[in-house]
Amino acid sequence: MISKFTLHHDVFGRLVFTVSGGEPEVGAEPVRAFPLSAPDHGLSIRSASGRELVWIDNIESLPPDLRRIVDEELTRREFMPVLTHIHHVSAATEPSEWEVDTDRGRTRFVLNSEEDIHRLGPDKAMLIDAQGVRYLIPALQSLDAQSRRILERYL
C-alpha cells in the first residue's frame, strides 16, 4: 500500500522525500493525524505546500531507518510539554498565571480563560496557554493531590 519512498535530511537540515523514480520533495514534514488519541496511527507526510505525499496507516509498519528519521522529525516539530505538577495558580480570576512542572522542565504561562482547559476523555486533559502552547495531562488520576485539587476547579 505504501509506495516505495525514501527520506533523508539534506545539508540544510531539511527533510527530503523521494519516491522511487520521482522528483525529490524538499522541506517535507511528517504530521500525525491523531496526535492525541492515537499518535501511532495515521501519519501523513506532506510537502512544504501542504500537499499529502504519502499516507502511512501505522508508524510501526515503517522500516526501522525511515522510522528513526520520522520519529526524530516528529519530536522536533511537536512541542507539547506534559504537565506533571502544578505549583501555583495566581488567582481565581482570569487570566491566571500558572507555574508548573513539565516533562521539559519548570515553566510559567498565562491561561486566558478556563475555556482553554479541555477535557479530552475521562482521564485526559489539555491546556492551551495565551501563546497557543499546548500542555498535555495524559492521566489526571496519576497527578499528585495538590495539582488535582487545583484542576478540579476548572474541569
Partner: protein, 742 residues
C-alpha cells in the same frame, strides 16, 4: 374508519338527532360544516353534511335537501371574500346550491369541499389525517384548524401540574415516605421540650420558690430530658433535611432527563417556533426551581402544618378556653393571607414577564452586538435595556409594598396574640383555673407557631412559582411527536433509492404550501430543486426527511410509503448537507463520525479525504484530534461544510439531500465543495436545493417549483428554451452577476 368517528364525534350535539334520523343504514358520515349565514348574509344556522353517498343540507327552515353521490359533472367549491364566504355546488349549466358562512368557518368549508371531491370521484381514503400545527407539529384533525396542543391556552390549573410531579416521585417513593416519617418525628420531638416546662415549673420550680419543696433533683431529670429531646430533634431534622434534598435532587434529575429526551424526539416544527433561550431556561432553571421548591418549601410546609396541628391539639387538650383565645389570630391571619394571595400571584406573574422581557433584550443585544456596533446603536440598546430594567424594578416595587406591609403586620399580630394570651392566661391563674406552668407552656407553643406563619406565607408564593415552573415543563412533555412511529415497521433488506411523490400536499396551519406534487426520481439520479423563496423547496425536503409527515398523498421509497418505516431506521439512509453545518463541541474525528460513532479511524480519514477535507485537517495543530465547535477551533464556512460532507459520506446514505450546501461560501470555496460533492453524489439519489443555478449543473433534471406547484421539469438547456419560470430565474441571476461586474 377514523373519519366517521372523528366527524361524528365532532358534530355538535344539537344536530345529532336530526342527522341520525336522516342517515340510512350503513351510511358513513365523512365531514360536516355549519354554514352560518343565509342568502341575505344574516346569521342563520345550517348544516351541510357529507356522507359516503350523499351531500345533505339543512337550512334554518329545517327541511333538508340532498344530492346522491357521485354527481357527475358537478363541482363543489368554497371561496371567501371579505368576512364571508360561500360554498357553491355547480352543475355544468347552473348553480344548484349555495351555502354562506363567516370567515371563521372557512377551514371547515374547505375541508368539506376537498373531501367532497374525493367521495365524488369514488375513492375516499381513511387516512385523511388533517394538517400539521406550525408551532408544535401536532396533527390537527379538528375542522376549525386549531391545534389541540397549542391553541386553547392551557386551562389546567397550575397547581395540578405540581400534583403531576408525583409521577416522577414514584421511583423514590420509599425515600419520600422515609422523609415524611422523619418530618413527623422531628416536628413531634421538637414539641416535647415545651411540654416538659409545665411540670417542671408547677411541680418543682414554683413549689421550690414558695418554700414548699427543697429537693431539686427531679429538676435536673427534667432538664436532661429536655436536652435529650433537643438533641434528638436536631438529629432527626438533619436526617429529614438530607433525605428530602436527596429525593428532590433525584426527582429533578429525572425531570430534566425526561424533558431533554422528549425534546430530542419532537419535530423540527416545534423548535422553529421556540426561542432557544426559552427552551434552555425551561430545562435548566425550571427544574432547579422545582428542586428547591420540593426540597425546601414542601418539607418546610409539611413541618409547619404538622407543627400547627400538633400544637393546637396539645393546647386544646390542656386547656380548651385558653387554647381558643390563643388561636384566635389564626383565622384573621388566614383571611389576610387569602386576600393577599391573589395580589401576590398577579405580582409574581408580572415580575416573571418583566424579567423575561429584560432577558430577551439581553438575548437580542449580545449575539447581535456586531450589528449594534455597525449601526452605532449602542445607546439605543442601553435605552431599551433601561426601559425593561426599570419595568422590573417597578413591578418588584409593587410587590415589595405588599410584602413590607404584610411582614410587620404578621409580627404585630404575633405580639398582639401573645398579649392576649398573657392577659387571658393571667386571669385564669388569678381564678386558680390553671397553673403558671400551663401558661408558660402556652406561651412557648404560641411563639413557635407564630414564627411558622411567615414561612407559611412564603410558601404560598413559592407554590405559585413552582406551579408555573412545573407547568412550563409539562408543556414540553405533553407535546406529541408529530411523526408517528408505525406499530409494525417494515425493514427492507436492500434499498435502491427510488423516490416517488404522489399528490403530496402540506399545510402550515390553514395555509397550504404544497398543492399536490407528483414526482419520481430514479435511483442514483440527481435532481435540482429550483424556485423562488417560499416556493416550498425546503418544505418538500423536510417531508422527504420525515421531519414531518405529508397532510395528503404519499412519499414512497422503492414503492413503499415512508410512513411504514421506523423513523430512526429511515433517516439512517438519508444524508443531509445543510447550508450552515453545525459542528458539535468535540474533535473533528468525532464530528465526522457523528452519524456512525463506531467508524474506524481509517474510515474517518477516507471520508475526509473524499470530502477534500483531509489536507486542511492535517494543517490544524492537532489534526483529526483538533477540537471544534462552540469552544473549539474556529473553522471557515467552507471547512465546516467539507466536514459535514465527510459526515454525510461516512454514513453512506442512499438518499442525499443538499440544502443550499454552497450558498454561504465564496466561489473559490464553492469550487472545492463542488469537488467534494461530486464524490458524494456518486450512486446516490440526490435532491439538491440551490439558489445559485450554477451549482446544479450536475443535476440530471431540474424541477422548478413555484408557489407549491411543480411548474417545469427538464434539463438546463431545455428549460431555457421553454422560456418559462426557470429561464426567468436564470436571466435574473445572469443580470445580477453582470451588474455586480464579476
Amino acid at each position: 374508519m377514523n373519519n366517521q368517528i372523528n366527524a361524528w364525534d365532532s358534530l355538535p350535539v344539537s344536530w345529532r338527532a336530526v342527522v341520525r334520523e336522516r342517515l340510512v343504514e350503513g351510511e358513513r358520515l365523512v365531514s360536516w360544516f355549519e354554514p352560518d349565514l343565509d342568502a341575505g348574509l344574516r346569521y342563520a344556522a345550517g348544516l351541510l353534511l357529507l356522507t359516503d353517498r350523499r351531500l345533505i343540507a339543512w337550512n334554518n327552515a329545517g327541511t333538508p335537501s340532498d344530492w346522491s353521490l357521485p354527481l357527475p359533472d358537478h363541482e363543489l367549491s368554497a371561496d371567501e371574500r371579505g368576512g364571508a364566504g360561500a360554498v357553491e355546488l355547480l352543475s355544468r349549466d347552473r348553480r344548484v346550491g349555495v351555502w354562506r358562512y363567516t370567515a371563521g368557518r372557512a377551514a371547515a368549508a374547505h375541508r368539506l369541499v376537498r373531501l367532497f371531491d374525493r367521495v365524488n370521484v369514488g375513492h375516499i381514503k381513511s387516512d385523511d389525517a388533517g394538517t400539521v400545527c406550525p408551532s408544535c407539529g401536532e396533527l390537527i384533525t379538528s375542522d376549525d384548524g386549531l391545534c389541540p396542543n397549542c391553541s386553547p391556552a392551557s386551562t389546567v390549573p397550575p397547581v395540578s401540574s405540581l400534583i403531576r410531579l408525583l409521577v416522577f416521585a414514584r421511583p423514590v417513593h420509599r425515600f419520600m415516605a422515609l422523609g415524611f416519617v422523619l418530618t413527623l418525628a422531628a416536628t413531634g420531638t421538637g414539641l416535647i421540650a415545651p411540654y416538659l416546662t409545665q411540670p417542671m415549673l408547677d411541680k418543682i420550680l414554683i413549689p421550690f420558690a414558695e418554700g414548699k419543696r427543697n429537693d431539686v433533683g427531679p429538676f435536673w431529670w427534667y432538664l436532661s430530658g429536655m436536652a435529650g429531646v433537643t438533641v434528638l430533634s436536631w438529629l432527626l431534622d438533619w436526617a429529614r433535611t438530607y433525605t428530602i434534598a436527596w429525593v428532590s435532587e433525584r426527582i429533578s434529575r429525572d425531570l430534566r432527563m425526561r424533558t431533554f429526551a422528549h425534546l430530542q424526539k419532537l419535530s423540527l416544527e416545534f423548535f422553529g417556533g421556540k426561542r432557544t433561550g426559552d427552551l434552555i431556561a425551561r430545562i435548566s432553571n425550571n427544574t432547579e426551581r422545582l428542586c428547591n421548591f420540593l426540597a425546601i418549601n414542601v418539607s418546610g410546609f409539611a413541618t409547619d402544618v404538622l407543627l400547627i396541628v400538633l400544637t393546637a391539639s396539645i393546647m386544646l387538650s390542656t386547656d380548651f378556653s385558653l387554647a381558643v383565645v390563643a388561636l384566635l389570630p389564626f383565622p384573621i391571619i388566614f383571611g389576610l393571607v387569602h386576600l393577599v394571595r391573589a395580589r401576590l400571584r398577579r405580582g409574581f406573574a408580572q415580575a416573571e414577564i418583566a424579567w423575561a422581557a429584560m432577558t430577551s433584550v439581553l438575548a437580542d443585544a449580545i449575539p447581535g452586538i456586531r450589528v449594534v456596533k455597525a449601526f452605532a446603536q449602542e445607546s439605543r440598546e442601553v435605552e431599551r435595556f433601561r426601559h425593561s430594567n426599570d419595568r422590573v424594578m417597578e413591578v418588584n416595587d409593587r410587590m415589595n409594598l405588599v410584602w413590607s406591609f404584610f411582614g410587620p403586620l404578621m409580627v404585630f399580630f404575633t405580639e398582639c396574640g401573645l398579649l392576649v394570651v398573657w392577659a387571658f392566661g393571667a386571669q385564669r391563674i388569678f381564678q386558680k383555673d390553671i397553673t403558671v406552668g400551663v401558661l408558660t407552656m402556652f406561651l412557648f407553643y404560641i411563639t413557635k407557631v407564630y414564627t411558622r406563619f411567615e414561612s407559611l406565607i412564603l410558601m404560598i408564593a413559592a407554590t405559585q412559582r413552582a406551579a408555573a415552573a412545573a407547568q412550563r415543563l409539562f408543556e414540553i412533555l405533553d407535546r406529541v411527536p408529530s411523526v408517528p412511529e408505525p406499530t409494525r415497521p417494515l425493514r427492507p433488506e436492500r434499498w435502491q433509492g427510488r423516490i416517488e411523490l404522489e399528490g403530496v400536499r402540506f399545510k402550515y396551519g390553514s395555509r397550504e404550501v404544497l398543492h399536490g406534487l407528483n414526482l419520481a426520481i430514479q435511483p442514483g439520479k440527481m435532481i435540482g430543486l429550483v424556485g423562488p423563496s417560499g416556493a416550498g423547496k425546503s418544505t418538500l425536503i423536510n417531508l422527504i426527511c420525515r421531519f414531518y409527515d405529508v397532510a395528503e398523498g404519499a412519499i414512497r421509497i422503492d414503492g413503499v410509503d415512508v410512513r411504514s418505516f421506523s423513523v430512526e431506521d429511515y433517516r439512517k439512509h438519508i444524508g443531509i448537507v445543510l447550508q450552515d453545518p453545525f459542528l458539535f463541541y468535540g474533535t473533528i474525528a468525532e464530528n465526522i463520525a457523528y452519524g456512525r460513532p463506531e467508524a474506524t479511524r481509517q474510515e474517518i480519514v477516507a471520508a475526509a479525504r473524499a470530502a477534500h477535507a483531509h489536507e486542511f485537517i492535517l494543517r490544524l495543530p492537532d489534526g483529526y484530534d483538533s477540537l471544534v465547535g462552540e469552544r473549539g477551533q474556529s473553522l471557515s464556512g467552507g471547512e465546516r461544510q467539507r466536514i459535514s460532507i465527510a459526515r454525510a459520506l461516512l454514513i453512506n446514505p442512499l438518499i442525499l439531500i443538499l440544502d443550499e450546501a454552497t450558498s454561504s461560501v465564496d466561489t473559490e470555496t464553492e469550487r472545492e465543495i463542488q469537488a467534494a460533492l461530486e464524490t458524494l453524489i456518486q450512486g446516490r439519489t440526490t435532491i439538491a436545493i440551490a439558489h445559485r443555478l450554477s451549482t446544479l449543473r450536475r443535476a440530471n433534471r431540474l424541477v422548478v417549483l413555484e408557489s407549491g406547484e411543480i411548474k417545469e421539469i427538464g434539463r438546463h438547456d431545455e428549460l431555457l428554451q421553454r422560456d418559462g419560470v426557470y429561464a426567468r430565474l436564470h436571466r435574473a441571476q445572469v443580470e445580477l452577476v453582470q451588474g455586480i461586474g464579476i
